[in-house]
Amino acid sequence: MKLLIIFGLVLSSLIFALNYDDIAYAQFSNQNTLKVSFENNLLPSYEMPLVSGQTFTLTQNHSWVQDETSRYNLASYTLDGETVKISRTARGDFTLTIPTDSSHSVVFTAVPQYALSVEGTNDFSYLPSSPTNDNWFDLGTEVSINVQKTTEIEANKVRQEITGWSLDKSEFWNIDDDGSTSFTTPPIMMNEYHLVDFFTSYQYKLNVISDSGETSGSGWYEQGITVPIGLDAGGDGLVLNSLSEWEGADVTYDGNVAQVFIDGPVTVSAKVEKNYSLVVGMIIIPILIIGVVGYRKFKNRSPQVEEKPVERIVEKVIERVEEPEKKYDDGYDKKLSEYLSEQIKSKLDEMYSEKIISDSKFLKFSGID
């Protein structure tokens, strides 16, 4: 009896289960559906049931990986035959509200993109800019990179100058100094991943200053260069100015040309001294001569006046101006400094001829580079 009851229960459960599947299938077959597919089968198609009266939101990633160096990015969708462009962005999800009153189909269109990386500088822009506002570009587009040639590292002291660039570390080009502040690469075809590497060198500011006259040599220079500097001291009327020494840096001399070796930002100031010899020659001596001549005339007219001591004093003054006592050479400091420069240069020449210094280094020391 018990066995009969158990058998009956099992049989009724089976019959109910079969009937429930039929009911569920019947419900699904009556529902509206959404068919989602991708142009060129970039991703597998799928189908979703739409429940009438409820809001349905379709979600799709804006970008997805194709391989190690490329990705796909959504460009448009077609809803029941009507194509709509999508606002391009690199990250996040694209959402679309689908009406549930009837069945629909959505076809997404995506484009392949490749990255264009830039190294060596942060001060650059893409021409044209990326459709996804990053460094990824659609297959087949041509992109240039515009870069600022100089970047100031420390105001008026140190700056970075772009000197060349390479594409994918295989082709190299120098960037000439044509006076422009920026450089734009030729168009790069985006059909694969590309890396643009900018080469830079540091430049240092040399300031040549003076309280009077005009200086030369100020500017930006690369490390290791020897720069000639100069001063046109000029004068204030009859008072002439002359350079006595340079201060602020180790100034060497190549013949009469003062030079500064650039190993960082440097300020050199000229020490100027006043030279009154022209004043003495053109004003004081004539006055004294006129004085003496006048005095002699006066003496001839009035012989009774005692003149000798005054005349002697004036003559002695003239003597002192015309024939100064010079036992020692006044320009000895300068001569010794010139001798020092000659010796330094001769040692560099010697090391070069003995093949201790390479050609390129020697050229740098000679300031020819």
């Binding site: 570390k169 020692y328 000895y332 001798y339 003995e354 093949k355």
Partner: protein
């Protein structure tokens, strides 16, 4: 980039090489690409004061830096220079590999295997790469030149004073200034470039 101290250490070191590796430095290998690469790495390193890229070595040794030339140079470096410990490969980034020599002076050795165990015996003099290929900063050469300049200038100053060309006051001032400058140069040569001056100048 490598520090200046590291580069100087490579110059100061004398590396022992077995005959099969020392041959790359000898006259018999003059026409071999391996020796050309070795000298190219040395010259480029001296110019840049740091390790050099494969494309630069290829350009200097073959006159081109296309992929096939770079592959040829890389293979040569790997099969000979790296294997013998003459050069070193430094990886700065996944796509930035550079090369540098491990030393600039080399001693040929012969390995002796006896009942006392293995030992090595030097053969001949120390071989050094040309001094103008050593990675030494410009500052060092300028210091050497200035040292010579100040020494000679002081000699002239003493002699001029003895000949009564300048007065005592001027002599004392200049003597003190020039000596001070010379002392500063010597101090820098002794501290930053210790041992290098003797190697570069005295043995040249």
């Amino acid at each position: 980039m490598l520090s200046e101290e590291d580069l100087i250490a490579r110059i100061m070191k004398v590396k022992s090489l077995k005959e099969n590796c020392f041959k790359y430095l000898e006259e018999i290998s003059k026409e071999l690409l391996t020796q050309k690469i070795l000298f190219a790495i040395a010259e480029l390193t001296a110019e840049k004061m740091g390790p050099v890229k494969l494309s630069e070595i290829a350009e200097k040794t073959t006159g081109a830096h296309d992929k096939s030339k770079q592959d040829l140079v890389r293979l040569t470096i790997e099969k000979s220079l790296l294997k013998c410990g003459l050069a070193e490969k430094l990886k700065y980034a996944s796509n930035d590999v550079r090369y540098i020599l491990t030393a600039y002076r080399f001693q040929k050795i012969k390995e002796i295997d006896s009942f006392r165990g293995e030992s090595s015996q030097p053969i001949g003099d120390v071989f050094e790469l040309p001094k103008n290929t050593w990675p030494i900063s410009d500052e060092f050469y300028l210091l050497l030149a200035k040292k010579h300049g100040y020494e000679q200038s002081l000699k002239k100053l003493h002699s001029d004073f003895d000949s009564d060309v300048i007065p005592r006051g001027k002599y004392e001032t200049l003597n003190s200034d020039y000596k001070k400058s010379l002392d500063q140069i010597n101090e820098k040569l002794d501290s930053k470039y210790s041992g290098l001056e003797a190697l570069v100048v005295s043995e040249s």
